[in-house]
């Protein structure tokens, strides 16, 4: 077994050599470095310093060359006896039996596949978009209003629009807003897929309510400082409602996906689905 081999090698190995060859000490790197520095220093002192630097640099190069050719100059260093014994101050702990031949469990034992996060993110994104568009129609008088506002977070041209232009369709702003929304929704969905299994108790309360309210609060406090013009256009009640809609739908969709065993400690090839005989542990694929 690998571990036993490591144990033997790190401890007292009967095959330990009596002496070891190491590179011999040499002054040539020092001389070359000094010559190199003087070579430049002549610029601010005198040409004679440059000339001295050139001589030392050439001598350093020649000496260094002779140090390694035709054969590297080495010295034999006697090996010292080393009484290293592996020991630990770690207390002995009781172990909960999790499976045969296994003394560790990877938590969480089950998790969601990546696809669950993507599905949740996209579904949450749709829910958020529906609510935001409803706000646009009911309160701002145009479905394009929230879309142009979203584009304005990253697109200076959208931020320059007057009230009338904010209510009209702009292809560039629409494409940007759509891409941005899909991208960020998917990323947050992925985060949900990773984090929800870690919060086994009431994941929907966390993902659907607490997290959206927290990040809404962060955006509310930061946006006034970073982009007050954009902040002045936002109706924060509707904003929070749309974030909560995202969180609830994304959380529900993720939570309804079937779980799988955590595969964190499996070899990358196995996780990637590559057929590579010999990489499966003798303990078998099934583990807690």
């Amino acid at each position: 077994m690998d571990t036993l081999l490591a144990t033997e090698q790190l401890g007292q190995d009967p095959g330990t050599p009596r002496e070891i060859e190491s590179p011999a000490p040499t002054t040539w790197p020092l001389i070359l470095a000094f010559g190199f520095t003087l070579l430049f220093s002549g610029l601010v002192t005198s040409m004679s310093v440059t000339a001295l630097g050139a001589v030392l640099a050439v001598a350093g190069c020649v000496g260094w060359f002779r140090e390694v050719f035709p054969r590297e100059h080495e010295v034999a260093v006697p090996v010292l006896p080393d009484d290293f014994r592996a020991s630990t101050e770690r207390r002995v702990v009781d172990r909960l039996p999790v499976a045969a031949e296994q003394v560790r469990a990877w938590l969480p034992v089950h998790t969601y596949p990546v696809s669950a996060g993507v599905k949740g993110g996209l579904a949450g994104g749709i829910a958020m978009a529906v609510l935001a568009c409803a706000y646009g129609v009911l309160k701002a008088g145009s479905i394009w209003y929230p879309i142009n506002l979203l584009a304005a977070t990253a697109y200076a041209e959208s931020l320059k629009m007057g009230p009338g232009q904010l209510n009209s369709f702009h292809a560039d702003g629409f494409v940007l807003a759509l891409g941005l929304h899909a991208f960020v929704s998917t990323l947050v969905g992925l985060l949900y897929g990773v984090m929800l299994p870690m919060f086994a108790r009431r994941p929907i309360v966390l993902g659907g309510l607490i997290a959206p309210v927290l990040w809404s609060g962060l955006i509310y406090t930061m946006l006034g400082l970073l982009n007050p013009l954009l902040a002045s256009h936002i109706d924060w009640y509707w904003f929070v409602a749309s974030q909560v809609a995202f969180g609830l739908v994304a959380g529900l969709v993720v939570a309804r996906q079937s779980r799988m065993l955590t595969r964190e400690n499996m070899p990358f090839a196995m996780r990637a689905g590559v057929e590579a005989p010999g990489i499966i542990s003798p303990h078998g694929e099934e583990r807690p």
Partner: protein
């Protein structure tokens, strides 16, 4: 050729005449000795840079002060910045990398031992050349002595019309020479890590310190090159009639800014990534848990390195770039916060549920975590171009980057000293003096750099020589200066701890922290050859496997 045997320093160091000892150190190609030389050299320059900082703080302690002349003040802040970045933090980090990387990957030395010595001496002579400017900087013109153009050396300040004499040339040449040394060391680190890992140490089993130094070394190769190129261009401008940075003759002063910051901002990450590396080794050992999210930590580091190469112009928001450039550099700068945040979460995740031992190395790491978080937040604030327009070139920015360099990197470095000094010297550093050092430094640091944000917000410009009374800056500057002196006292405690523990400290033994990486399997200090038999590893924590054969990591990786 191979017949002569060298002596073993650990056994015979006390018996040798000092000339022989000096000769051994000067001619050494051993990575451990070169690492120690880097560290000692950096500590000496830390004293120089620290004295310059104290002179700056005395000058600013109250309004209308004339402790030094404006000319000397300009030299002090230029030399302080240049010294601390290029001749303290970089060498000390290279020193730790030199010392630790071969030990941690189970190698006997660096890949190119002689290049290693050459690189160190280049760095050392670069620093000496810079400080020789105090004597020789006036040159033929009798103007100035040490460089006084700020550590960015912006054009056109460096043009001959504004910088006669040789002071700027000393700055240029010193950084050029030491830059070649940095490139040599980086090539060595990369070659060592890629080619000399012991059997079984795949890339995904490498200690995070080795991984992060690999990334750092790659960044040095990318970042130092444009700086060296710009310095050669500046020399051409000053000596051969070139006009690269001469706006009146078709050149561009902004070109220098781009060249400098293409180096300058990645440089911040070049300095902080090894600090991350220290945390990634120290926090798990003192939490008694393996690092949380090893692959993510590696990925986040690579991500930081990649993104940090595209953020440089956030230093130039006030130059007057167009809105697209401002938006791009604002977004990329904020984006660096994501992988950095991942790292902070992972260190907290490592501590979470662990049995935390509050030894001095861990205290410094906890200080790092808290302070680096705040530094990151003020960094995000300044990433917003409109915010930066208000506060750029103010003391707010000075406070921010000192929070990164001192509150982050220096705290991690102190942690590294307390953690690895027992390995280097065979003696434990005093825990009691270490706690004094920590708490004095924390108090001094927060007095200085927390308070320093406020005069910046009130409009105090950086590099200002003195100021009018009645602007609300006096008391704040006094507190900042007092804090600086408390930090200096803390550093003295640290130096005393290093010296006294070297002679009288408790014996460290091989593995004083009950740690898990390979350097702790050798004696303290390690023999010249590191390992009599090259180890074979089967997991990221080979010493854990050795100590717990009933539950080795190798079964789970």
């Amino acid at each position: 050729m191979s017949s002569d045997a060298i002596t073993i320093p650990a056994l015979q160091i006390q018996e040798k005449p000092w000339v022989d000892l000096l000769h051994e150190w000067v001619t050494t190609v051993d990575h451990k000795r070169l690492g120690i030389l880097y560290i000692v050299y950096a500590l000496v320059f830390l004293v120089f840079g620290g004295i310059e900082a104290l002179i700056i703080r005395v000058q600013l302690m109250h309004s209308h002060n004339n402790f030094v002349s404006p000319q000397v003040f300009n030299r002090m802040f230029t030399m302080h910045g240049t010294t601390m970045i290029f001749f303290v933090v970089m060498p000390v980090l290279f020193g730790f990398a030199n010392y630790l990387v071969p030990l941690m990957i189970g190698a006997r030395d660096m890949a190119f031992p002689r290049l290693n010595a050459f690189s160190f001496w280049l760095s050392a002579f670069g620093g000496l050349l810079l400080y020789f400017s105090f004597l020789g900087g006036s040159g033929l013109y009798g103007a100035g002595s040490a460089p006084d153009v700020g550590w960015w050396a912006y054009a056109p300040l460096t043009a001959r019309a504004f910088s006669p004499g040789h002071s700027s040339d000393y700055w240029t040449l010193a950084l050029l020479v030491s830059g070649f040394g940095s490139i040599g060391t980086s090539i060595n680190i990369i070659a060592t890590i890629l080619c000399l890992r012991c059997p079984g140490m795949k890339l995904n089993r490498m200690p995070l310190l080795a991984w992060l130094n690999l990334v750092m070394a790659g960044m040095v190769l990318i970042a130092i090159t444009p700086l060296s190129a710009a310095q050669i261009m500046l020399l051409i401008d000053r000596y051969l009639g070139g006009h690269f940075f001469d706006a009146q003759a078709g050149g561009s002063a902004v070109l220098w800014m781009h060249f400098f910051w293409i180096f300058g901002h990645p440089e911040v990450y070049i300095l902080v990534i090894p600090a991350f590396a220290f945390l990634s080794e120290i926090v798990p050992v003192f939490s008694r848990k393996p690092i949380f999210g090893y692959p993510v930590m590696v990925a986040a580091t690579i991500c930081i390195a990649f993104v940090s190469l595209s953020v440089w112009a956030h230093h130039m928001f006030t130059v007057g770039m167009n809105s697209y450039a401002n938006s791009f550099f604002a977004i990329t700068t904020m984006a660096v916060g994501i992988p950095t945040g991942i790292k902070i979460f992972n260190w907290i995740g490592t501590m979470w549920g662990g049995r935390i031992l509050f030894k001095v190395p861990m205290l410094f790491c906890l200080g790092f975590l808290f302070q680096f978080l705040i530094a990151g937040l003020t960094g995000i604030m300044q990433a917003a171009a409109p915010f930066d327009w208000q506060l750029s070139l103010s003391y707010f920015v000075v406070a921010h980057f000192h929070y990164v360099i001192v509150g982050g990197i220096l705290f991690a470095l102190f942690g590294a000293f307390y953690y690895w000094c027992p390995k280097m010297t065979g003696r434990m550093l005093s825990e009691r003096l270490g706690r004094w050092h920590f708490w004095l430094f924390v108090i001094g640091f927060h007095m200085t750099f927390d308070v320093m944000h406020i005069p910046g917000l009130l409009g105090m410009p950086r590099r200002i020589y003195t100021y009018e009374p009645g602007r609300g800056w006096d008391t704040l500057n006094l507190i900042v200066s007092i804090g600086a002196f408390i930090q200096a006292i803390a550093i003295l405690v640290f130096v005393w701890n290093l010296i006294s523990s070297y002679f009288k400290g408790a014996k460290a033994g091989n593995d004083p922290w009950d740690a898990w990486t390979l350097e702790w399997s050798t004696s303290s200090p390690p023999p010249p050859y590191n390992f009599a038999t090259i180890p074979v590893v089967a997991s990221r924590r080979p010493l854990w496997d050795l100590k717990h054969p009933e539950d080795p990591d190798s079964l789970y990786e």
